[in-house]
Amino acid sequence: MKRVARAAAFAALTMSASMTVAADFPQPLAEEPVPSVAELPASYPDSWIFVHDFHGNSLIDARGVIVDVAADNNNVRGQIPISHFGSITPSPTRSEIYVGETFYSRQTRGERTDVITVWDTKTLTPKGEIVLPGGKRGQFVTLVNSLQLTNNDKWAMIFNFTPGSSVTVVDLDSRAVVSEVDLPGCSLIYPTGARGFASLCADGTMTSIALDAQGKPGATVTSEAFNDIDSDPLFMTPAMVGRTGWFVSFKGNLRAIDFSGEAAKVLGSFPIPAQSGGTPEWRPGGWQVISADRAGLLYVLMNPKGGEGSHKDGGTEAWVIDPVAKTLVRRITLKNHSISVEATQQAKPLLVASRPDGSLDVYDAVTGAFVRTVASVAHTPITMTAVRR
C-alpha cells in the first residue's frame, strides 16, 4: 500500500496548479471502462481497402493495414501481421482474412513453419492456422495472386516456389491441406470456374488446372502462347472485372482473359491509345499498376519516363480506360509520384494511389479530383486490395 500511496503522491504533484472548475461544465467527463478494445464490422464497407505494408527495412515485420479511404479521419482501422514476404487475401463471404506466412522458432533462424493464418474480420484475432508442409511457400515481393480462393471460398490456394513451382490447396473449413499440384514452368494462381485455377507460364502460355471435389488436379488445358515475355511481358496482377482479368503489358497493351470457365480463355488485346509527352514514352509503371472499378473501367498507373527497366518506377498519372470502347476516357494527374493503384468497388468509386513515403492519395475516380491524403499508412505500401463482394 505504501507504494501505491507514493505513486498517488507523485501523480498529485504533477497536477497543474489551477483547480477551478469551469462553470459551463458542471459534471466532469465520464469515467471510461477498461479494458476496451475496438472491434470492426464483420463485413467491411466497400470504401475499405487492405494495404500490404511490405516494410522494406524490416521485411519480417510486414503487416496488412485496413484503411477506410472514404472517411475524413480515423482512416486506419486496424493492422494484422504478415511475416517475411507473405500474402494477404480477404474473404468477405467468410468474414475471414487469410495470411500466408513463414515463421522461424527464433524469428530469423531455427525451425521453419509455413502457415496460412486465419483472421477474424470483426475482432482481428487469429482464429486458427493451417500448417503448410515442406517449407516451400513462395517468397517474393508480394503479389495478390500468390494466395487465392476457389470453390466458393471453401478452399485457399497458395503458390510455392523452391525454385520448383507448385500450388498447395487447403480446405478452410477443416483447416487441412487438401492437395498439392505441381506447376512446372508456371507461376501464380488465377482462380477459374467453380473450382480450379490458371497460371502464367514461362513459355508465354497460360495453363488451367481444374480441381475435382477432393481438390485433386483434373484436366489441364494449355493456351496458345500469348505473353511476349521477352519484349512486352504482362504485369502479373490483373484488374478483375467480374471473372475477366485485364492484364496490362510493360508497353501498355491490354489483354483480357476470361476465368469464368473451367479453363482460362485468352481474349483479345488492344493498346492503350498512345499519348505524346513521354520521354521516351508513356508506359505503365509501378508495382500494382492496374485496377478496375465496379463499372468495368480500368485505371492504369502511367510513367512518362517509360523504357526498358522502367516498369517498377511508379507513375505520375492514372489513365482511365474503357476496355469495351477501347478508349482512353481520362488522364488523372496524380499529386505525387505513386507506386500502386486500386479502385474501390463503391458505386461512386475512389481511386487510391500509394506513395513511396507510405501515404495514400485518394481521388474521385469519376472526376479525377483529388479528395484526400491518408498519411503514413505504411512503411512500404506495395499492394492494395479493395473490399469486394
Partner: protein, 186 residues
C-alpha cells in the same frame, strides 16, 4: 497529507475496480503500475509519422471527440490527455484515446498520470494502458517526459514496456483512459 491519503485511497479503489484481480494484486504486492512504452523522444521526433523513410509532410487527419468538454485532436501529441504518454497513439492505429486497436490486448498494468483538461479546468486521472500483442503500430509517435523519472522508479518511468500480464508482451500502441477526477472541489 490527509487529503493525499484520501486521494490515494480513492485512486486505489478506482484502480481496483478498473483492473483485473491479478493486476490489483500486483499493484498492492510489488513495484507498481507504469507508463507506456517509447521510442525515446529525440529518436521518435525524428521518426514521428515518417513511416519508413522521410515520409509524410502530410499530417494525419484530425480526430476530435466533438464534445466541447474534451477538446483537441487525439492524433496529436499535445492532446490534453497525453500529458504523460509515451509511444504510438492508438488513435492513429485503429483504436482511440481510450480504446485499443482491434486484435490487440489492453494491458491491465498501467501508469497513472494526472492531466488538466483545459475545457473544464479539472484534473483527471489518466490511465495509460498499453495495447499489446501486435508489432509497433508505427503511426503518431508521441513522447512527453515531464515527471518522467529513470528506471530506478518504475512507476514514474515511461521507458518500460508495460505490456505485462498480457498474452503477448509485444508492444503496439498506447491509450489515455479517463479513470476519474483527481480531486473533487466543493
Amino acid at each position: 497529507m490527509s487529503g493525499l491519503d484520501k486521494f490515494s485511497e480513492k485512486m486505489t479503489r478506482r484502480v481496483a475496480r478498473a483492473t483485473s484481480r491479478r493486476s490489483l494484486l500486483t499493484l498492492i504486492g510489488g513495484a507498481l503500475t507504469g507508463a507506456a512504452v517509447i521510442p525515446v523522444l529525440p529518436v521518435s521526433r525524428a521518426q514521428a509519422q515518417g513511416h519508413g523513410g522521410g515520409g509524410g509532410a502530410d499530417p494525419i487527419a484530425p480526430q476530435t471527440t466533438g464534445n466541447p468538454q474534451d477538446p483537441g485532436d487525439q492524433t496529436k501529441c499535445d492532446y490534453w490527455r497525453y500529458c504523460a504518454i509515451d509511444g504510438f497513439l492508438c488513435s492513429c492505429c485503429g483504436g482511440s484515446a481510450s480504446t485499443c486497436p482491434p486484435g490487440t490486448e489492453m494491458s491491465p498494468i498501467t501508469w497513472i498520470g494526472t492531466c488538466m483538461n483545459p475545457a473544464d479546468n479539472r484534473a483527471y486521472i489518466i490511465s495509460y494502458n498499453d495495447c499489446c500483442g501486435r508489432s509497433a503500430c508505427g503511426r503518431c509517435s508521441c513522447n512527453r517526459n515531464e515527471g518522467d523519472r529513470p528506471m530506478v522508479r518504475p512507476q514514474a518511468n515511461n521507458d518500460i514496456n508495460w505490456c505485462l500480464g498480457t498474452a503477448s508482451a509485444i508492444y503496439n500502441c498506447s491509450t489515455a483512459v479517463i479513470l476519474g477526477v483527481a480531486l473533487e472541489q466543493k
